[in-house]
Every structure is written in structure tokens, then in C-alpha cells.
């Protein structure tokens, strides 16, 4: 078929017209595309550039080294130890099972951890290093490194982990660190990005916790470029952080260790206070716990043991435990009455063995009574009736004020987990808390440190220190942070009549140095080191009239929880006091038998700055003391317990 020319031309013209229509549409679309490019690439370029950088740049924190804690003599109490671990990168390992089998022959692998690591490896990207074994010895790491050609994907890494070289000796004081938890984050108002690092270690208890901000340091940062699946491509730059500040405590670790050893097998608290500057040389609570256990990750069994132990090893009894001070409170009552002029040191009050106050009989510990008692004798022999009488004269409010002046019933500011404020009760307190009026019987009870009065060993030591020096000594636990010394706790004059104070001190001196004193058996023999003290035995149960009639049950015949607390407060040397020591033995029985010997031993240890010579002890006790010293020496040498793992 031959096509006509005209036909072709018409069709060509038609095609041309339609092509132009399409071309115009195409130009419109091209224009739209060009406009879109302009919008994205020019108008919004900055915004998208930012998004691109957000995509690729990650900021990683470099955790700073935690500050160390030292004792007075520079002994490390909390330090950072290099912690060797073995990590595995799945994609580099090839046959994971094969490599792990070879690794098992070289280093000890905990099957439980291994299973967890395997699970983590499967869950995470193949290039993420997963820890296979932690806390390896240097020898293990060396074995891994030597065999590295046979262990693809396995590398040994070094990290820092917290170590407490003195272990349990300072568990309550230094505390421990642990991984930051959601609970921690909800509790503390701290914007520090370090806390967002998984498993970042923060102080959980003790000074580790209270000085957390200073010990932690500040984070360094590094900017790294990552790809779409999070693999690190390169480090763009880094800014180093500052390691945490070192802290020096006033604790003398050697003395602390001795005190802990001496308190062994008791449920007790003891405090040694340096009277020159208020430094706490030892703050011991028994039983105690090893903080290293928590850092490593405490086992369920160990945790249950600590929690269910009826002697409460986790409680820092020295500062946290509060006990009726018993007879150790008598100095407070006496001073209140003296200062108020309600009694003179020479006035004698007759003790018949009991006093009746509004129909209630209050008994002296000595059934037969002490006879005529003046201030000196009443303290020395710890006569109760004397204080029943003078307390009624002076009234509870003045007694409480005196107690607070001497450091009882006051919360002392120390960087420890729980510092108890104790209780120096007064009328106002009873009205507020118990909604009852104060009764004279309450005053009588309080006069001998029973009833509502509560105090901690720390407070008792401070009281002894203030009595000994006449200055309002403040306890100091942190000597220096980052090399800057904290102000001394020596304190100003307490503003009490020096004559009265001297009489109290003399009486306290006779408590342990006069043959009729209650702590005579726990005296110090060395003439320059004579100790002054006061015993206390505080009841935790009520003695009924019926029981009193048939004879008070002896402590030894009671279950442990119902026995009396044994207390002793002391300072030495009498003439020029250097240390105050307070000891409370929970349910220990009598203060003179259970607490005073401990306090005396601690005092001697502090005075001699080490093991005292045997002739500082009364001659009759030397044989027993020598045996006791030998036993304590045979304990694992202090300061090495944290290191024996390597």
C-alpha cells in the first residue's frame, strides 16, 4: 500500500503538536524536580547537614579514674586495680564454639557467665565486643595473648575496678561502689552524663557514697564516626576528663584493723576520737562485711547471710546504732545540776538502794545501797540514787540541754551512710511525739541514761572528748580532699565551769584507777597513760517488782536479745587527754566486764600507736592479754587481704 504524502504530513503535524504538549508537561515536571532540589539542597541544607552529622557522629564518654581513698598515714583504703578481662568479637572469631573451646583450656571460664556472653553475642551486632571472662589474673591474660594467633576475635583488655585493700576492716566507713541503678537515678538529682553509662560504678554506701561527686571526677568525651549499623569507623577527636579527687580520711587503718579484730565475735561499735583535732581514728562496727564482695557482685547466698544475720553486719553500729547510754549519762546529769547550782560537789545524798517517786520505786543497781554519796563517789561507784535525786532538782530540760551541749542527741555531720541523731528527750519532745506530759519518773529514768535517752557510740566518744578537753570537739572523718585539708574539729571552749569539769574528770579517773571504781579491773598501769572512764549498763527490758523480789535474773541466764547493753566511755591520759574511746557491746552484759576491757585495749593501742608493752596492763591480766595479742596478730595481716587474689 502506498501512503499519500498528505496523510503523512497531517500525521506529522499532529504528532508535533502532541509532542509539544507532552514536552511542556515534561518541562513542568523538570521544573518541579529542580525546585525540589533547590528546596532540599539550598533552602534546608543546614538542617539536613545537621541531621547527617547526627547520623554519623556519636559522642562517647570516657569514664574518669575514680579518686582514691587513703588513711591518715597514706595507706590506700579504696583504690583502683587493673582488671583484666577477655572480650570476644563474634565476626572476627569465625567459629565461635571452636575458639571458646580453645580458650577454656587457657583460662578459667565460668559456664554461667559463658552462657550469658553467648546469648549477648547472638543478640548484638557481630562487631560488638562481648566480655567472656572478667577479673583474670595477669598470668591468664599472658596465656591468652601468647596464644592469640589461635584465638581469632579474642582480645585481652584492661579496665579499672575498685579494690578495698583493708577489706572488712573499713567496710562500714569506706563503703563500696556498685553499678548505677534505676533506683539511684530516680533518687539522686544529678545530670552527670556518666551516670548514663551502663554499669557505671558509683558509691553506694559510706564515704564512697557521700563523697561521690568529688571521687567521681568528670567525664572525658570522644567523638566517633559510626556507620548505619553502629560500627565505629574512626575517632574524630577526644577530650580527656579529669580523674576524681583523692580523699584522705582521718582513720588510722592499722588502729581500725586492731579495733575490728578486738571486737570480733561481738555485736558492737567502737569509736576512737583524737582530742587534738576531732579526728576519728577508728570507727568500728562488728560484725562487719567485706566491701570487695559487693564490687565483684555479691552472691545471693552471701547477701542473704548478711541480711539475715541477727548481729546485723550491714549496720554501722558505731554511728548508726543508738542505745540507752545507761550510767555513762551520769556525767551529763551531774554537770547539769552543778551548773544550775542545784547541787554542790561536796553535798552528800544518801543511797538506801531505792528511791520512791510518786509511788514508783526506782532502784539503785546495788540493792543494799551505797550510803552517803557525794559527786565523786557517786560517779566512781555509779550510784543511781544520787542521780535520781539531783535530776529531780534540776529538771529534764536542763539535762537535755547539757546532753546536747556534750554532743548527745545531736546529729553530727559525717560523710557516712547513716549517722544517727540519737535522742536527748525534753518536755517539748514528749508532747510533740507522744502527745503526753513529761512525768517526773521520766526524768528519774533519764538521769541514769535509761528511758527515752538514746545515743550512739560516736556521740558517747564525743561526749567523753568534750568532758576531757572542755572544748566542743567536732568529729572529723575527712582530713583532706584533693590535697586541701578540711578544718580541724578542735572546737572552742564549751563554756562549762572548769572546776566542775575537773571534778568530773577526777571521778572518771577513779572509775578505772581507784580500787572501788567500777572499771578498776580494766585500768591502765602505765603511769603516764592512766585512763579515765565511765561504765554503763543499760537495760533493754523492764525488771518487774516480782523479779526484783526474787532476785534479778543474771545476764548469762537470759537470751542474747534480752541481755543488757554494755557501754564504756573513756579518755586518756587523764592529765593530758589525747584520745577518747567509746565502746558499746550490744547485749554484752555489764559495762565493766564487757565494754571496759575492750575500751582499755583500744586506748592502749591508740596511745602506743601500735601494740602496747605488757607492763601497761595490770599485772594480773598480762597472761590473758598476751594470749589475746597473739591471736589478733595471727589474723591475716591487715592491708594484704585485698591483694591476695592476684
Amino acid at each position: 500500500m502506498k501512503r499519500k504524502t498528505r496523510d503523512t504530513e497531517i500525521s506529522a503535524r499532529k504528532i508535533g503538536r502532541r509532542a509539544l504538549v507532552l514536552g511542556a508537561a515534561q518541562l513542568g515536571i523538570v521544573g518541579a524536580l529542580g525546585y525540589r532540589m533547590q528546596t532540599l539542597q539550598i533552602d534546608q541544607a543546614d538542617q539536613f547537614r545537621l541531621l547527617a552529622d547526627e547520623n554519623r557522629i556519636n559522642i562517647r564518654l570516657i569514664p574518669p579514674a575514680r579518686g582514691q581513698i587513703f588513711d591518715l598515714n597514706g595507706q590506700p583504703l579504696a583504690t583502683n586495680e587493673q582488671n583484666y578481662r577477655v572480650v570476644m568479637v563474634r565476626e572476627d572469631a569465625g567459629d565461635v564454639g571452636e575458639v571458646l573451646e580453645r580458650l577454656t583450656k587457657l583460662v578459667p571460664l565460668d559456664p554461667e557467665n559463658l552462657a550469658r556472653a553467648m546469648e549477648e553475642m547472638q543478640r548484638r551486632s557481630p562487631f560488638v565486643p562481648v566480655t567472656i571472662a572478667d577479673r583474670l589474673t595477669w598470668y591468664d591474660v599472658a596465656r591468652v595473648n601468647v596464644n592469640s594467633p589461635a584465638l581469632p576475635g579474642i582480645t585481652a583488655e584492661v579496665g579499672l575496678s575498685r579494690v578495698y585493700p583493708w577489706g572488712a576492716d573499713l567496710g562500714h566507713v569506706v563503703g563500696y561502689v556498685g553499678p548505677v541503678s534505676d533506683y539511684d537515678l530516680s533518687r539522686i538529682d544529678d545530670q552527670d552524663p556518666l551516670l548514663q553509662i551502663p554499669k557505671f560504678q558509683i558509691g553506694k554506701t559510706g564515704t564512697e557514697n557521700k563523697l561521690e561527686r568529688r571521687l567521681r571526677g568528670s567525664a572525658g568525651t570522644k567523638r566517633i564516626e559510626v556507620n548505619a549499623i553502629g560500627r565505629v569507623m574512626r575517632e574524630l577527636d577526644r577530650q580527656e576528663g579529669n580523674s576524681g579527687a583523692d580523699v584522705q580520711l582521718t582513720i588510722d587503718a592499722r588502729l581500725q584493723s586492731y579495733v575490728q579484730a578486738r571486737l570480733d565475735n561481738e555485736s558492737a561499735g567502737a569509736v576512737v576520737l583524737d582530742l587534738e583535732n576531732g579526728d576519728l581514728r577508728a570507727v568500728a562496727s562488728a560484725p562487719t562485711f567485706d566491701p570487695n564482695m559487693f564490687v565483684r557482685g555479691i552472691s545471693v547466698a552471701d547477701w542473704r547471710d548478711l541480711n539475715e544475720n541477727k548481729y546485723r553486719p550491714l549496720a554501722a553500729k558505731a554511728v548508726q546504732g543508738t542505745y540507752p547510754p545507761g550510767s555513762t549519762f551520769k556525767m551529763v546529769t551531774a554537770l547539769a545540776a552543778l551548773e544550775d547550782g542545784k547541787v554542790t560537789p561536796e553535798e552528800t545524798i544518801r543511797c538506801t538502794g531505792w528511791v520512791e517517786v510518786f509511788g514508783t520505786r526506782f532502784h539503785c543497781w546495788k540493792r543494799a545501797g551505797h550510803g552517803n554519796m557525794n559527786l565523786h563517789e557517786s560517779l566512781k561507784q555509779s550510784c543511781d540514787c544520787y542521780y535520781y535525786e539531783i535530776s529531780q532538782r534540776v529538771g529534764i530540760d536542763k539535762i537535755s540541754a547539757m546532753a546536747r551541749k556534750l554532743g548527745l542527741g545531736v546529729k553530727h555531720d559525717l560523710p557516712l551512710s547513716a549517722v544517727a541523731s540519737g535522742l536527748a528527750p525534753d518536755k517539748e519532745w514528749k508532747r510533740t511525739v507522744h502527745e503526753q506530759d513529761w512525768r517526773v519518773g521520766d526524768t528519774v529514768n533519764a538521769s541514769i541514761g535509761q528511758g527515752y535517752v538514746l545515743s550512739s557510740p560516736l556521740q558517747l566518744a564525743i561526749m567523753a572528748g568534750r568532758l576531757a578537753t572542755g572544748r566542743s570537739i567536732k568529729p572529723r572523718l575527712v582530713r583532706a580532699v584533693d590535697g586541701y585539708e578540711k578544718p580541724s574539729g578542735a572546737g572552742e571552749s564549751i563554756g562549762l565551769n572548769e572546776n566542775y569539769l575537773r571534778r568530773i574528770r577526777n571521778a572518771m579517773g577513779d572509775v578505772s584507777n581507784h580500787s572501788r571504781g567500777t572499771a578498776y579491773r580494766s585500768r591502765i598501769n602505765a603511769s603516764a597513760m592512766k585512763m579515765a572512764g565511765k561504765t554503763g549498763t543499760s537495760q533493754v527490758r523492764r525488771i518487774t517488782a516480782e523479779e526484783r523480789a526474787r532476785g534479778v535474773t543474771r545476764n548469762e541466764d537470759l537470751p542474747w536479745e534480752r541481755r543488757d547493753h554494755a557501754l564504756f566511755v573513756s579518755f586518756a591520759p587523764v592529765e593530758n587527754p589525747r584520745f577518747a574511746v567509746a565502746v558499746v557491746v550490744e547485749h554484752g552484759g555489764g559495762g565493766s566486764t564487757a565494754a571496759a576491757p575492750i575500751a582499755r585495749d583500744i586506748m592502749l593501742q591508740a596511745l602506743y600507736d601500735g601494740e602496747p608493752p605488757l607492763d601497761a596492763y595490770p599485772s594480773g591480766a598480762r597472761g590473758r592479754i598476751a594470749e589475746q595479742q597473739r591471736k589478733i596478730r595471727e589474723r591475716v595481716p591487715p592491708g594484704s587481704r585485698g591483694k591476695d587474689r592476684a
Partner: protein, 379 residues
């Protein structure tokens, strides 16, 4: 029909044909392909492998094929149009049974030395057969209903088969490409208006049918549409591609981050960065200037093709040239619209630039046909 049926003054023959090739188009195609090579080199992190060297080889083969096709007289191609279309239809049916599954769709037959994608081939043969149909059909019958239904069936048959694979992108390209040829051939406006109305109805049906037993698209296709409509509501899931592509594009700015400095592609934030999303890498590294320059190269290719068609008195040659140019336009326009977030992600590669064998070969063969029409047009 023979060569003598044409009212010609002069048609080149022998090696003189080489002189009469549409050289501007060849240069532009080469320029665009080179842009592709550069990008493939950059995406591989500064390495010819694995993509650039393979792409250059294919381009070389494609150019030889193009010249070869161009040397063959256009009337030969017209005469085999129907056969070629028939073969590609058979192959499309063949992939239903022997096709390999890739990216969740049946798309190719493995021939051993190459993977044949019949859907790619159909893109040309459909245009060829429609151009030949309208060349054969007397112009006064063009708009008669019976003669309109015929090409519609020709278009719908392969479209339906491609949609079954399922390959929504190619199906839409076939549909639009075929409709364009019909439009150019002079089919009455009213048909297009009614089809447009029907199309809107179909879109409504597609959305209404979602979640029912007669739902028309696959779930992943619905998700792509959702994502397109609002990429922000799922930035790490389905919207990830579009979001990351826009970030790459936008962070390029005026002049780009520099050759091989594109962080989005180098760090793998971009999906399918060497195929469908290659334009984003180019835009990231060479900025608005580079992206716009590439767009202009494409526009120039279209321009020279249209210019060639408008001076071609041969109805088949003109329709074929315009049809190929329109299909080519649809390729790059849809791809660019897709990566700039103007259209849903339908999986259309950037012509001549994206890494991919059969798309490149098919496109160059199509340009061979355009060249043949150009060389053999009456002067």
C-alpha cells in the same frame, strides 16, 4: 513496504550512516554514563570494584549494540515489532514459571551469562509495537473505539503480567509509556480524560480495598505508599529510606561535600545506594550544582530526541523516538521524584547511572532504535 515507498530525497547508506548518527545524543548518553561511573567508584569507597568496572563493560557492550541497531534500517525494526512484542510477552509468561525471586519479586530468568529481565525488554517492544500499530493504522481511524481498544489491550497485557511479578514501578512505566504513544499518535482527548477519571476511581478502589479479601496491592506496596505520604511517622522503619535519602540530598548543599566525602552513602545510611538511590549520593557529594547538571543532561537528551522526531516524516520513526524519549523521561523523573520524596519508593533505577545490567542494555538498544530512526529519516 519498502524503502522506495518513502518520499525521500536522500538517505545515507554504508559507513556514511555513522556520520548521520545523532551524535549529540551519543555524547550526552556517554556523559550521563560517566557520571554514573564516577558515582559507582565513589560508593565503592574509591574502588573500581565491584561496580564501576562491570558497569563500564556493560556500557561498552551497550554502545556497540546501540550503533549496531542504529545501522539497521528503521523499517526492519518496524517489521519485526509485532514479533519482538510477542517474544517479550512469552518471556513475561515464562518468568512466572522459571523466574528467580529477588527482592520478594519474580523478575528475571537466569540465562547463565546474564540475567534476563523480560519486563525491561517489554518496555521497548511495547513502544515499538504501538508505534508500528499507529504507523499501520490510517490516521482517520485513530480515534475510533474499536481501534482504540486494540492498543489498550496491547498495553494492558504486559502490564498485568508485570504487576503479577509484582513490579509496580515497571507496570506504571509500561502503562504511562504506552498511553504516551497513543496520545502522540493522536487518539482523541476524551479517551484520556475518561481513563484519568477511571484512574482516580482505581486509586480510590486501591485504598478502599486495603485489608479486605480483594485488596489490590501487596502489603509492602501499601506500606511504601503510607511511607511516602508520611515518612516521618516511621523514620527507622519503612520511612527510613526516604528520610535518609532526603538527609543525604539536603546535606549536599550548593556544591556538595566533595568527591568521596559523602558520609550518608559511605557509612551505609543510604539504602540501595548503588542502584535506585544513586542519585542521592551524587547530590550529596556534588550538591545542587551536580544534581541539577545531571537533570539538565537528561533534559538535553530528551530535547535532541524530540528535535529528531519532529523533523522525521516517518510516522513509525517519529512515534518510536518520542515514545522512547518519553519512557526515558519517565525513568529519570520517577527516580528523582522518588529519592527527593516527591513520589513513593517504587523501585525505578536512574537510567544510565544506576548499577544494573539489563536496564542499561535495554536502554541503549532503545536509543539504538532512536538512532536508526534518525539515521534513516528522509532528508
Amino acid at each position: 513496504m519498502s524503502y522506495l515507498e518513502y518520499n525521500t530525497k536522500y538517505v545515507p547508506s554504508g559507513f556514511r550512516k555513522l556520520v548521520y548518527l545523532n551524535w549529540p545524543v551519543i555524547m550526552l548518553i556517554t556523559a550521563v554514563a560517566c557520571a554514573g561511573f564516577i558515582m559507582l567508584y565513589s560508593i565503592a569507597g574509591g574502588s573500581a570494584d565491584p561496580w564501576m568496572s562491570a558497569q563500564i563493560k556493560r556500557f561498552g557492550v551497550g554502545m556497540v549494540l546501540m550503533i549496531g541497531v542504529a545501522m539497521v534500517p528503521i523499517w526492519f525494526w518496524r517489521n519485526i515489532s509485532a514479533v519482538a512484542f510477542g517474544v517479550s510477552l512469552l518471556l513475561l509468561i515464562g518468568v512466572e514459571f522459571f523466574g528467580s525471586v529477588g527482592m520478594g519479586a519474580q523478575r528475571w530468568i537466569d540465562l547463565g551469562f546474564m540475567r534476563l529481565q523480560p519486563s525491561e525488554m517489554t518496555k521497548i517492544t511495547l513502544i515499538m509495537v504501538l508505534a508500528a500499530y499507529y504507523d499501520w493504522l490510517p490516521t482517520d481511524k485513530t480515534s475510533r473505539p474499536l481501534w482504540v481498544i486494540c492498543p489498550i489491550l496491547i498495553i494492558l497485557l504486559p502490564t498485568a503480567l508485570v504487576l503479577r511479578q509484582p513490579d509496580l514501578g515497571t507496570a506504571l512505566l509500561l502503562l504511562t509509556g504506552g498511553a504516551t504513544v497513543m496520545f502522540l499518535a493522536g487518539v482523541h482527548w476524551a479517551y484520556f480524560a475518561s481513563v484519568l477519571a477511571a484512574g482516580v476511581g482505581a486509586i480510590v478502589a486501591v485504598f478502599q480495598g486495603r485489608g479486605t479479601s480483594w485488596q489490590l496491592l501487596k502489603d509492602y506496596q501499601y506500606r511504601r505508599i503510607d511511607t511516602f505520604l508520611d515518612p516521618a511517622n516511621d523514620p527507622l522503619g519503612a520511612g527510613y529510606h526516604i528520610t535518609q535519602a532526603k538527609i543525604a540530598l539536603g546535606s549536599g548543599g550548593w556544591t556538595g561535600r566533595g568527591f568521596m566525602q559523602g558520609t550518608q552513602s559511605r557509612l551505609n545510611f543510604l539504602p540501595e545506594k548503588h542502584t535506585d538511590f544513586i542519585f542521592t549520593t551524587l547530590a550529596e557529594e556534588f550538591g545542587f550544582v551536580g544534581a541539577f547538571a545531571l537533570l539538565m543532561l537528561y533534559v538535553l537528551i530528551i530535547f535532541f530526541c524530540v528535535a529528531s522526531a519532529l523533523t522525521n516524516k516517518d510516522r513509525f520513526g517519529a512515534l518510536l523516538t518520542l515514545g522512547v524519549a518519553m519512557a526515558f523521561f519517565l525513568f529519570f523523573a520517577v527516580n528523582m521524584a522518588m529519592v527527593t520524596g516527591l513520589a513513593p519508593v517504587v523501585g525505578v533505577p536512574l537510567p544510565l547511572v544506576s548499577y544494573g545490567g539489563s536496564a542499561m542494555l535495554v536502554l541503549l538498544i532503545a536509543f539504538g532504535l532512536v538512532q536508526s530512526a534518525h539515521v534513516h529519516k528522509a532528508r
